[in-house]
Symmetry: C2
Subunit: 320 residues, 2 copies
């Protein structure tokens, strides 16, 4: 089966049609229209079998995760997603696998009103690269670099769930309660990009990043880009009920500090914007928790528990 | 070494800075500005070691080819390139390899005034996915679908060189003349995207595609999308001196019909635009050769040599 048949047969018919797509799948490139007053935001992420997902993960989940991790990057920029391009490396043309994968992809694309505008397929080890494009009003993009000492640090949702989910999926950890186990596995396989939070944070957050490699690892990107330090209170970390009842409290903190794949947003807010921010997030129904404060100790991250120093070997995900 | 270090250490400093890039490498996504009156054109292509290039190809050549094949897709749309994103799958962090690869990438990016705006690195088999973005004035994008019976068929440059180059690199064929051998290998390793041709063809060509899989294979995309047939004259195919003196004339035709990797443009022009087109291409110094004519025999491709039917088993590159 030829390349154009894979993309056309499995993906084209299922794709939603956005009005801003002039030419979609089926030409040398896609032609689209960026609305006036909006900047274009572009991000690329690759998921590789055995590295970013377990080889036995369902194709439906792989597809949805591949979209979600990219939309999560757009969310962290405060952007609204619009289009995705897909590069799919496949060991063989497995029709059942492609059927499930393309269905998962298009369900998610439809849910987020995102159109698949093009792609490439190659014969090789299973890997999915998605480039996502979206919009943000000019001068309203959230970055990593504008945080200031004194700003408060927040995270959305709960942390550590996907990390425990991974250990369950790898049989490194047993969670007997079925509902908790499912919840934790879903947090691993079906992360939710915090798009509403991202757009709500425009003009309110001083910096923002999504947590893909782990809290400790990812906050350091903000500290470096903004030339700040931070104190985080591990007793304030938002933990799900499922995580808390499944592992010890010190293990839960470890997962929350260092496990990746949560795809929550970590953001900072100046003192003046704090009140406005809390009202905005509450009215958008976005859960967010205060976890610490930035300071001037450039690049330094201090962890505290009940106001005493807390030692952690938490490192976050290492790519190489 | 961590992901952000690979991108930041090897790629960020070398990148050119375009004025339309508001935020480049180093955040969750890039923020860019599409000029008013222009549509955005996006394309993605993956090169996999052992499939799209031989494992011993120099990293410098791999990088430049990865850019060129993507810019060639933009050229086929009549677009002007602006930005690229890179997803790099690497078995290990090999500093010498990365140094050569990033230098090759940035030389080409600079030559084409294209800025690398972001990327992702993963640990895995050597593969390069580039997403290229560019602009085309609204309603001037070249497509595959607007050709009409009676239109003339043209190609830029010469065909078949990269195909013979591949056989030389694979030691399947010996070319003794050193200059010819180098020319043919360069056509394989360093394809030139026909950007000037693409922009010159706006409002003149009725359809356009780049030849990546081979002439016979790629013209069928136009025939299908435009619901036409075609007659091509194999005696009119443009062949380089290096190809002609290195193989028999029937082998040369085979290479020109079926070998991929030439990255020339194949385009169609209506009778009314022919004169205008030839003047435009001549003044832009773009070599193009008339090779045949479209007709109403939907999807059918007829090959003729000196006006007699020509039989060929040419099939073009099969992706799976």
């Amino acid at each position: 089966m030829k390349e154009f048949n894979v993309i056309e047969d499995f993906f084209k018919a299922k794709s939603i049609q956005r009005k801003d797509v002039i030419i979609g799948i089926g030409d040398d490139g896609a032609v689209t229209h960026v609305p006036q007053g909006q900047a274009l935001v572009t991000t690329t992420d690759t998921l590789l079998s055995g590295v970013h997902f377990l080889p036995d993960t369902s194709p439906h989940a792989i597809a949805q995760k591949a979209i979600a991790v990219n939309l999560s990057d757009l969310a962290a920029m405060g952007a609204q997603p619009a289009w995705i391009s897909l590069s799919l490396s496949l060991p063989e043309v497995d029709q059942a696998w492609l059927q499930a994968f393309s269905t998962g992809l298009q369900q998610h694309a439809e849910y987020y009103s995102v159109q698949l505008i093009g792609g490439d397929t190659v014969k090789g080890p299973l890997a999915i690269t998605i480039t996502a494009q979206g919009f943000v009003p000019f001068d309203q993009a959230l970055t990593r670099s504008q945080a200031k000492p004194g700003d408060s640090v927040y995270v959305t949702g709960t942390l550590g769930d996907a990390g425990l989910g991974l250990h369950i999926a790898q049989n490194k950890c047993v969670v007997n309660d079925q509902l908790n186990r499912e919840y934790l596995l879903n947090r691993l396989h079906y992360p939710t990009p915090r798009l509403m939070a991202g757009t709500s944070l425009r003009r309110l957050a001083s910096a923002c990043i999504d947590i893909s490699d782990g809290l400790v690892s990812d906050i350091k990107h903000i500290l470096k880009a903004s030339q700040c330090g931070a104190t985080l209170h591990v007793d304030k970390l938002p933990l799900s009920q499922a995580l808390k009842v499944s592992v010890s409290s010190s293990q839960a903190i470890d997962y929350a500090l260092s496990a990746g794949d949560d795809y929550e947003l970590l953001f900072t807010v100046s003192e003046e914007q704090k009140g406005h921010l809390e009202t905005t997030l509450a009215s958008a129904n976005v859960p967010a928790t205060y976890i610490g404060q930035l300071n001037g100790n450039m690049g330094k991250l201090e962890l505290r528990q009940n106001d005493k120093p807390f030692e952690s070997s938490a490192e976050g995900y290492q790519h190489f």
